[in-house]
Each structure stands twice: as C-alpha cells, then as structure tokens.
Amino acid sequence: MSRNRRTPDSLPPFERIVAEHGPGLLRFCVSRAGSGGEDVFQETMIAALRAYPELREPDAAGSWLFAIAARKVIDAGRSAARAPRPIGDPGGAIDAASPPLPPPEYDREVWTAVAALPPKQREAVGLRFIADLSHAEIGEAMGTSAEAARRNVFEGLRRLRVDGVGGVDGVGDLTEPAGGASHD
C-alpha cells in the first residue's frame, strides 16, 4: 500500500489545493463562523500558504487545511467574545499576525494506510480524525449528506481494519468511540 511516490520537494502547486479543497473549506467556514466565514477562510488559506512548503504529506493536505480552519474558527470566536467590534468593521475579529500553525501531528504509518483508501473515504477519515470534524461538518466540507459522510468514514475504517492497520501503533486513534457520532 505504498503511495510514497512523492519526495518532500514535489508538493503539488498550491493552486491545486485551492481548487480541490477551497469550495468545501469555504462552506465549512461559513457554516461555523456565519458572516465571518470568509474571513476565517482567508485566514486559513494564508496560514496554510505560509506553512505549505513544510507540509510533509501532500495526501493529507485536505485534512490539514480543515484542522487549521477549525482552530481559526475557535480563534475568531474567542477574539469576538473578548473584543466585540462595531457592526460593519470588516474582518477585525481575527488577528492577522497570529503565527502560522504547524501541520497537525499524525502517525506516518497510519497516514500511509489512510492515503491508500479510495478518495472519498480517505477524505472523510482524514476530516474525522485529523481535523476532528463531526459527520455533519464532513458532509458540508465534501458536499454530501451527513449520512453519506458517516458511511464514508465507516467504510474507510472497515477497510483499514481489513488491511491489518489495526495492529499499527497509533491506529487506536482511528477507532470510532462508542456513539462516536455524538457531536453530530
């Protein structure tokens, strides 16, 4: 299941990341941050562009982006609560100087296995366990129903177990807790 064809210096052009994940990321940001959604989207993309040359696993780019976005949503909520802005102040709620986020931690062997999944399952599993999105949010991000998102996560996990990834250290993190859809 080796998909490690790429070397670290052959990242795809960022343009492709935007084209593939941008629309879903924007939907996610708008659904989480409302009218501040585009600001969160822009903050996320700029932070991602800044850190992009250091990204070691291009196949994880979608999950990585959503993980950054999830933190930007929280940052935006905190700033807004701390310092409410006058209505009409564009985009002030987010600190433009916040430091770039490092890529989220993940187990490389596990990711190699995840990367070999069919695209929709790979995306859904990454969003669930790297970006920590709920099934409803995964559905928004991928443009599917929450139920379809749940199935993609389920099928992806099932396939990982069939492939024997269950024995790899760290894959415990890839097990849905009982009632794992609790925050749907």
Partner: protein, 197 residues
C-alpha cells in the same frame, strides 16, 4: 490548454479567490502567479515570479504539468493571480499577434534555464523580429559551435517561448525544424513576422 478542472459555479468564488491572491501578494507569499491568456495559437499559460515572466506554456503543453513543474522547480506557492508583469506580458502579446509590436519589453526571470542552454536562449533573444538564425549560429554565439544538438535541446526546452523567440531558429539546410509548440505554431509565428516586416 488540454485540461480545465471544473470550477465552482458560485459567483462569489472568483472574487474570494482574487482577495486571497491579493492578500498573498501583500504578505509576500505569492511566489508564482499564473494566468491564462487567449491568443491566435490557442490558450497560453503565463507564469511570473517577483522578478518577471519565468514560464510561458504553449497550447500544446498540459496545464497541470506546467503548474507542477513550477511547483517543483520554483516554489509550491503557486496561485492563479494577476500581477503587473503578467498584465504587461498579456498586453504586449496582444499587440504582437496584431502585428503592432516587434520587440517585447517584459521583465523575464531566467531561473528555469542555465549554463549553455541559457547562453543559447540569450543568443536567440538577440535575433531581431522578422529575421532567423540557425541552430549552428546560436550554438556558436553561446560559445560551442559544435554543440548543435545541445542547442536544439536548449530551444526545445525554452521555458519562455514567443518572448524568447526560439521560433526564429531554423535548421541550417533551410528546413523549419522542430518547435516546442508544434511545427504549425512555428510556421504561424514566422508568417506573422514576415507579414509585419
């Protein structure tokens, strides 16, 4: 261009992307800006770094491959965006194809070529509009009269065709020779320049 990834239909998407690109530019994160440009040859893809135009993709080239090449050889921070060097290049290309421009005054970034190949391309850039050179003459000008085949390779891998006019280099026996964008494109450009002389 051979591929055109389907783009979202949301009318706001283009505006949101444009805001992303201009902020990336302001923050110094836009290493390579690329734009499509329609021409009589077909769709061109033009890429500019902060130093100038570094790459011009001809219609015969796969757009995704050109973008991947830029990501690998210049920087992965590649975005579709405008930039003054691109606006200049597009305007001057329009004038050129209309027969109203004989010389390009666009900043070029030569980083995608080096060594002997760069020497060949610099010699090629010195061939005036409406005139032609030969593989032997550009090899000689680059300092290696015997390296005719290597000169051919340099021209075949010219990163900035049209702006570096490799179409003006013909075989010594008068045959038109190969062209990165195909023989037909080379003929079109030579006829354009013959008519505008």
């Amino acid at each position: 261009m051979s591929s055109d990834r389907s783009t979202p239909t949301d009318p706001d998407w283009d505006a949101i992307r444009a805001r992303l690109a201009s902020r990336a530019e302001r923050e110094g994160l836009l290493d390579v800006a690329v734009e499509r440009h329609e021409s009589p040859l077909g769709g061109l893809l033009i890429a500019a770094t902060a130093d100038g135009v570094a790459r011009l993709g001809l219609p015969s080239e796969d757009e995704d491959e050109v973008l991947a090449e830029l990501a690998a050889r210049v920087s992965p921070r590649v975005l579709r965006a405008s930039r003054p060097a691109l606006a200049d290049a597009r305007h001057q290309l329009d004038e050129y194809f209309a027969g109203n421009r004989r010389h390009f005054g666009v900043d070029l970034d030569w980083r995608l070529t080096n060594g002997f190949r760069r020497g060949v391309l610099e010699a090629t850039a010195a061939i005036p509009y409406g005139e032609t050179g030969t593989y032997t003459s550009v090899a000689t000008a680059a300092g290696s009269p015997a390296a005719v085949r290597a000169a051919g390779t340099a021209l075949a891998t010219n990163p900035i065709p049209i702006l570096i006019p490799c179409h003006r280099v013909l075989r010594s026996d008068g045959e038109i020779g190969n062209y990165r964008g195909g023989r037909e494109a080379k003929v079109t450009l030579l006829e354009l320049e013959a008519g505008g002389r």
